[in-house]
């Protein structure tokens, strides 16, 4: 079954008003989502945010309590898993322990009555792709974790599904192997051009591999964007806090302009931030990434005219390529600053623990984020493929 030939009009996967309840618990809440074709799409969030449930509804293992699931524009709600052109790489691989590697990989093709010669050829090719041709006759238990992971990938990919679903597939592997397989997975995805929907709670993994990331929290998508936008311009407090190191300064909106707002920080100063749709009087947070902050001693050497906030250095940690400084603001907010260790002289001049410090930033690097309940987040949802 080939899906490459179909026109690019419909998204690969669409969810329309999908809700999933387990008893009293709502795992996924009224979700609208479009996954563009041929992209590496990641659902990122803490455990219990509904990402795996969403994946399972796309695969056909769970049925939505409400709403519809569309694959290539076709309504597949209620179709059993074996009728859907999706394949899954399971968290613990779920390889058939009684079948050899090649019989595992051949399982899907055999169920679809592909001729024996073709099964043999495609299984061989796929094992070649993942570098396991020599292990074809082995049983899964004779393979290492990384090899099992590759078999699981081959077993799914050999069917050339319209969508490949991956449920934290690297979760059980050690860090080094994870990094290696992240790169490999990304390469394979670009190689085969199949839509990948990848579920993970690891934000670094998501940022490295994805074309698009849907950050989920409590059953809803809080932001759907490219990795850069997610990192540089988080749109909610949750996203800002979940991705990267959170430098969230609470405050109150005092005035709004076009695309900007002024926020009076609890730490003292009033700062101008990039923002959309804020209302005066609303509580919000200003966020600046640690590497976008400059740190100065407060003995008057800080550049004037830049927005700034003063505090006290709490600790300083040498990380090799950079020095991480934690600064406590008057309202007890802790700010992390990452100072690159490019200039040994400058590093020595950094204020030590217990000393006053001034943090400055350029206006384009500060953003205002609000809680999802404050609205406006849904503007960002649904990417036009």
């Amino acid at each position: 079954m080939s899906h490459e030939g179909q026109g690019g009009a419909a998204p690969s996967v669409s969810l329309r008003g999908v809700t999933k309840r387990f008893g009293d618990f709502t795992a996924v809440r009224d979700m609208d989502l479009d996954v563009p074709r041929g992209q590496f799409f990641t659902m990122l969030g803490p455990s219990g945010c509904g990402k795996t449930t969403t994946l399972r509804m796309i695969a056909g293992f769970e049925e939505p309590s409400e709403g519809t699931v569309l694959l290539d524009g076709e309504d597949v709600t209620g179709l059993p898993a074996f009728r859907r052109p999706t394949n899954t790489v399971f968290q613990s691989y779920a390889l058939f322990p009684h079948l050899s590697v090649e019989r595992n990989v051949a399982f899907g093709l055999e169920r679809r009555r592909v001729s024996k010669d073709e099964v043999r050829r495609r299984v061989g090719e796929e094992l070649e792709r993942v570098g396991l041709a020599r292990e074809a006759k082995r049983k899964p238990r004779q393979l290492s974790g990384g090899q099992q992971q590759r078999v699981a990938l081959a077993r799914a990919l050999v069917n050339r599904p319209a969508v490949l679903l991956l449920d934290e597939p690297l979760g059980a592997l050690d860090l080094k192997l994870r990094k290696q397989l992240q790169i490999e997975l990304k390469r394979i995805q670009q190689d085969v051009g199949i839509t990948f929907i990848y579920v993970t709670h690891d934000q670094e993994e998501a940022l490295t591999m994805s074309d698009f990331i849907a950050v989920m929290n409590r059953g809803v998508v809080e932001q759907l964007d490219g990795p850069e936008e997610i990192y540089e311009r988080p749109s909610t407090t949750f996203v800002a806090g979940f991705i990267g190191v959170s430098n969230l300064m609470p405050g109150e909106v005092v005035s709004t302009g076009t695309g900007t707002a002024e926020l009076r920080l609890d730490a003292g100063p009033t700062v101008r931030t990039g923002a959309a749709g804020a209302t005066v009087g609303e509580r919000a947070h200003a966020v600046v990434r640690p590497e976008k902050l400059q740190l100065h001693a407060t003995n008057g050497t800080g550049p004037d005219g830049h927005p700034s906030v003063d505090g006290q250095v709490e600790s300083s940690l040498y990380l090799g390529t950079a020095t991480q400084v934690i600064v406590r603001l008057p309202d007890d907010t802790h700010m992390t600053v990452l100072v690159p260790n490019t200039d040994e002289e400058a590093r020595r001049r950094l204020p030590a623990a217990g000393h006053g410090a001034r943090l400055t930033w350029s206006t384009e690097n500060i953003h205002m984020v609000r809680d999802l309940a404050a609205g406006a987040v849904h503007d960002d949802e649904g990417i036009k493929a």
């Binding site: 293992f61 999706t86 899954t88 779920a94 009684h98 899907g108 169920r111």
Partner: protein, 292 residues
């Protein structure tokens, strides 16, 4: 623990109680029985050891009918137990939910009552003036003279009933251990229910199938209570012959020879069955267990 003791053969010391038990209560009696089976004589004049190997051939030629019947009845009972037991174990394992333990208990509870009493109850239930027979006669399934007791059916059903839990429990144990994600993977890879059952569930439950069939077949083939209480001499099995040779006729050499032949045949059956159905499946899931 002192290294000296360890070196002195602690493993053997730990082995001793089990090994001693085995020697005293298994190997020794078996030796006696072998000795007994090679004696010649009559119950009246007594028996003397005589290397009388002909006891074996005589036993076979004299009781071949009962031997065949034993294997036939035990095989039938095993088959019926499997047909009843597999779906039951499957439902308890996969659909049991919070009723699982209650359902398992329900399987075992009848066996709190002794074997003999249970079989005697069946004798009453199936008796000619019992409710079952008269009901079946009324609806015309059973003829005027038709009966349930003292038939092949009653003996086979009695054996089935008595050994059913030995089928269900190992089946349940192996089904319950199957990772449900393996079944999901089967469906995900375009397997319909039947495919997933035949290609995933059944192969993975083979250890339970092998254990269950052996645990049912072996005691069933040696059983004599069911044939005694629910059958007539026309349904008598090899167990009945051995029992009567020992306890009624006092023909010990023949009884001992019959026991040995039964043991040997069972051993052969077990080995062949384990080889045909077992090894691959047993090894497969054994590995899975090790990995988990």
């Amino acid at each position: 623990m002192r290294a000296g003791l360890k070196k002195a053969g602690l493993p053997y010391l730990l082995l001793f109680p089990g090994l001693g038990w085995l020697l005293l209560f298994f190997a020794l009696p078996l030796g006696f029985m072998l000795f007994e089976s090679l004696k010649a004589g009559t119950p009246d004049s007594g028996f003397l050891f005589d290397w009388s190997v002909s006891n074996y051939s005589d036993a076979v030629s004299q009781f071949d009918e009962q031997f065949m019947r034993s294997f036939e009845f035990a095989g039938l009972a095993t088959l019926i137990s499997f047909v009843i037991g597999y779906p039951l174990a499957y439902v308890i394992a996969f659909r049991g939910g919070r009723w699982r333990n209650a359902l398992l208990l329900a399987v075992i509870v009848p066996f709190f009552v002794t074997y003999l009493i249970r079989t005697l109850s069946w004798e009453t239930i199936l008796s000619d003036d019992g409710a079952v027979v008269s009901t079946l006669q009324t609806v015309g399934i059973l003829g005027e003279e038709g009966r349930l007791l003292d038939t092949t059916a009653s003996v086979v059903l009695g054996i089935t009933y008595n050994f059913l839990p030995f089928m269900i429990l190992p089946l349940y144990a192996s089904l319950e251990r199957i990772d449900p994600r393996l079944l999901e993977a089967g469906y995900d890879l375009y397997g319909r229910r039947r495919d997933v059952f035949m290609r995933v569930t059944l192969p993975l439950s083979m250890p339970g199938v092998v254990a269950g069939t052996l645990l049912t077949f072996i005691p069933a083939a040696g059983d004599f209570i069911n044939a005694e209480l629910l059958g007539t001499p026309r349904q008598s099995m090899i167990g009945n012959v051995i029992q009567s040779r020992y306890l009624e006729v006092g023909d010990y050499p023949t009884a001992a020879a019959l026991s040995f032949i039964l043991m040997g045949t069972m051993l052969a059956v077990v080995l062949v069955w384990a080889r045909v159905a077992g090894t691959e499946a047993l090894l497969g899931t054994e590995g899975e267990e090790r990995r988990a």
